[in-house]
Every structure is written in C-alpha cells, then in structure tokens.
C-alpha cells in the first residue's frame, strides 16, 4: 500500500502508523455519559468495504484521514485530519 501524504506525496506504507478508524475525530463531550464513552472507546462499525481511518505519517508528523477499502486495500482519498475534523 502507498498513501499520499498531503505534504510529502506518495509514500510507502512503512512510513505510517495506523491508529484505527476515525472515531477519534468524534470525541464525546465533557458531560457525555458512560455509554457514549463505551461507544467511543470500544465499539466499531468495522465495515468490509470503505473505511475512514486515522494514519500518522511518522517522518513529517502529519495526522491524516485515509479512505481505504478493507477488502481490496485500495486507497481512495487522503485528507488532513484537522480538515476532516471540521
């Protein structure tokens, strides 16, 4: 797999650390109840198909959201996590 870092261009999968799906962009608020936190920390859609996930480009430090197909490993898009979080 190759992933296009918005700053560095197409880079090898080895330069990245995968954090899992992009749940972490939707952190519950301070007053959220335990079930919301359970949902956030543990539960996942875990689709067989297109998935948005958080990758870290280790050399440049960019956090990116990668849209990737979990059945074919094809990468369909990369955006900066801070833009995706807006």
């Amino acid at each position: 797999m190759r992933v296009a870092c918005p700053f560095c261009g197409d880079r090898d999968r080895r330069e990245f650390t995968v954090q899992g799906d992009d749940t972490s962009l939707r952190r519950p608020g301070r007053d959220a109840g335990p079930l919301a936190w359970h949902d956030y920390v543990h539960l996942r859609d875990n689709p067989a198909g297109r998935l948005h996930e958080i990758w870290h480009h280790d050399p440049c430090g960019a956090w990116v959201v990668v849209e990737r197909d979990t059945v074919t490993h094809a990468v369909h898009g990369v955006t900066l996590a801070r833009e995706a979080a807006r």
Binding site: M1, D12, R13, R14, V18, Q19, G20, D21, P34, L35, H38, D39, V41, H42, L43, R44, D45, N46, P47, A48, L51, E53, R68, T70, V71, T72, H73
Partner: protein
C-alpha cells in the same frame, strides 16, 4: 462408516471403492430447534456438542461457503494452554484436555501432536514474567518447565544464542503444547455432528436475523427463511457484519495476520518455537514444511492477504533466530481475518435479544480454542447460562469495565493489540 485400521486395509485391498461421503448434503428444512451461523471450527464444534452433550440434534449449521473454508483452514495449527489470567487460564486448560481425547471422541485422525512448545526469553525481566506465567500454568494443573540457556540448547541447538539484540537467556517449555491438522479438526467435528443428526448446510449465506419483540425467531438466507428459537452467531472474521443484522455494534476490529509455509524438508524442527520479542513463531508440519508467522499487519482488513512490509519483518525475525532456515524456499503465504477485541480475549455470551447468542473475538488464538469454544457455546445455547470455564467471556465487560482480560498487559484499546 466407522474409520479404523482394519477398514483402511480392507478398502485398500478393494481399490478404495467402498468409502462413502463423510457427511450428508441436506436441503434446509423450514425450522430447527437451533441454528448455528458459521461452519468453521467453532461453529461445527458448537453443533457437535449441542448434539453430544445436550441431546439437541435438530440443529442446522449454515455456512455461506464451504465447511472449514475460513480461519480454521488459515491458521498455523498451534495448540497450547499457557495462559496467565483467570478466565483465560481455565478455558484453555479445558480446551487442551478436550484436544487430548479428540481423536478417540471423533473417530477421526486430527494428527494432534504434543511435541512441546518453547517460549524464548532474552532478559532477566522477561524471565521473571515467564516464571510467573509458568507458576500460573502449574497452578491451573497444566505443565510448564523453566529452561535456562543450556536447557534450551539441549532442545534447540540450532538457534543463534548470541544475537546482539536478543541473546537467548532461556525459555518456558510447555510439554503438552503442540500442533494439529487444522482441516481435519473441522472435518472431524463436521462428520461427528452429521452422524448425530445435525444438518450441515453449505452455500447458504445468512442475510438477515428475524426478531419478534425481544426474541429471535429465525434467519433469512440465500436458500430461504429458516425458523429457530435459538440462533448462535459463530462467524469470527465476519462477526461485525452478521451482528449488524441484529442491530448490534461489536467491540471488534478485523485485522490481517499472515502466515507462511516453505517447501517440504526433512525433520529438523521438533517443537513449536515462539520468539515473542521478534514476533515470530515456527513449527514443522508432518509433511515437512516449515510453518511460521508473525504479528498483525496492523490495519483493518478483510482481504485474507497481507502486505510486503510484514513479510519482510517475519523473514528477518526468522533469520535472526535460526539462520539455518535461510535457504528454505517459501511456497505459500496467506492471511487470516482476526476478530480483534479491545482486551485480546474472546466473547461467548448472550445478547440483548433472547435466544440470540454470540461467539466472537478470538484474536490470534481461535484454533486451539475450537473444542472448548464449541463445548461452552453449546452449553450456553442449551441452558441459557454461561459454562463455568467461559463465564468471564462476557460481552458487557467493556461497557462496565469489570472483568477485562488483557493478557498482554498493554491496555484494553483497539490500537494496542
């Protein structure tokens, strides 16, 4: 047909013309007493023990592909009971005892070989952890022997003991650990279940789970609707998709774990060797191939194949540990789809829907669990109560925080296992 040495000789002399099919190919009936979704190792053993232990024989196993075509045919066949935490320890101990009687039980040669498993350690701290683990195994009633460096050398003289990064200080020997023929386990349970009246229905994909009120009443399949008051989901590798049919979101991520086999060689590796620090483990199959694997690729995947960086990592770890295998040629590599749970331990439990039961989250350890998983899942489906040795495999432990079983001690979060 009962298999025996005598039968083998007789059929051999008669041109092998007398063998019959190992199981029927039934047409699904409109209703059953229980449905098991998933015709892999765990699903087939569940059906077998429903019939054997609980007398529930009006059972259908629904398999979308062919029997044993998933992870039970895609693992590295290791059988062991070297767990540390209460909850896991008694479960895998029970499973190993079932393995030890499995061939006589099933009248099927699963080629269970207790050749001994050695986990290597490389530092004083790691040794202390292994002493503790060995004591936990002994306290459970299983076997563990601590080997020093020379003790390991007696068993495994061919390792590189003086590697600069990971010099071998010793190992924990689990003599009853070993391997089995993975496909044969699925086939043995399939044949055993079929002989007791269970319908094994292949090419029958479940497309929906029917719920009336708060009770499950059956499933929709590609071969029509089938009704049953009890349904067990036993589809590790596809758990999230099938559970979603019942409106559930699971604490599961699916990851890829790769494995490799070389060309057949003369007997050279007589144990199962686990090199945890290098994420590498290896054994030799009865056919002679070196069977080995490493760690997850660490991204979600249903592809059943991995990427080259982990291939490279595994090969490097193998060369680090035993340079002698460097000339062996790799024949095949493949990937299994791992149901990864946040704490690395499985789930065998009821769900919020009456009559619907869930068996999933086997992480990298599903194969050795096949007998006990079926035993306990059958008990749960038949009685409605968890079996004593699987009582801690609760689905709600993540929501409540009670009973988390984080065997690795890395933290009960998805990205940490």
């Amino acid at each position: 047909m009962r298999y025996s040495g005598l039968r083998l000789i007789r059929e051999g002399l008669r041109g092998n013309a007398g063998w019959t099919r190992a199981w029927r190919d039934p047409v699904p009936r409109p209703d059953y007493d229980a449905i098991v979704i998933g015709g892999g190792g765990h699903g087939l053993s569940t059906a077998y023990y429903l019939a054997r232990n609980h007398g529930i024989t009006n059972v259908a196993v629904l398999e979308k592909g062919y029997l044993g075509g998933g992870n039970v045919g895609r693992n590295t066949t290791i059988v062991r009971a070297n767990y540390f935490l209460p909850g896991n320890s008694e479960f895998y101990s029970h499973s190993l005892k079932l393995w030890e009687g499995l061939e006589a039980e099933l009248n099927y040669n699963v080629m269970h070989s207790q050749r001994g498993l050695i986990n290597l350690f490389h530092s004083d701290g790691q040794r202390d952890a292994f002493v503790r683990r060995g004591n936990a195994m002994a306290a459970q009633g299983d076997d563990a022997i601590l080997l020093d460096r020379e003790g390991v050398r007696e068993h495994l003289p061919y390792l590189d003991f003086d590697n600069a990064r990971f010099p071998i200080h010793g190992g924990l020997l689990h003599p009853r650990g070993g391997t089995a023929r993975h496909d044969a386990v699925a086939w043995g349970y399939a044949r055993g279940a079929d002989r007791r009246g269970v319908d094994l229905i292949q090419n029958c994909e479940v497309t929906g789970i029917d719920v009336e009120g708060s009770r499950v009443v059956g499933v929709q399949t590609t071969r029509g609707p089938i009704r049953a008051p009890k349904v067990g989901i036993v589809v590790a590798g596809r758990s999230s998709q099938v559970a979603a049919m019942a409106g559930m979101r699971l604490p599961i991520e699916s990851h890829i774990l790769q494995a490799f086999v070389t060309e057949g060689l003369k007997p050279v590796i007589h144990h199962v060797i686990s090199f945890g620090m290098g994420h590498f483990y290896i054994s030799q199959s009865d056919k002679g191939g070196l069977v080995f694997g490493g760690d997850l690729d660490f991204y979600a995947s249903y592809a059943a194949r991995g990427n080259l960086p982990m291939v490279e990592h595994v090969m490097e770890a193998g060369m680090t540990l035993m340079p002698m295998i460097g000339r062996a040629r790799v024949l095949r590599s493949w990937g299994g789809i791992m149901d990864m749970s946040p704490d690395g331990s499985p789930i065998i439990d009821r769900t919020h829907i009456d009559g619907l039961f869930l068996n999933c989250g086997w992480n990298y350890g599903g194969f050795k669990a096949v007998p006990a998983s079926g035993w306990c899942m059958a008990h749960l489906m038949a009685t409605g109560q968890p079996h004593a040795v699987a009582a801690r495999f609760r689905l709600d432990r993540f929501a409540t925080g009670r009973g988390i079983m984080d065997e690795e001690g890395t933290g009960a979060q998805h990205s940490l296992h």
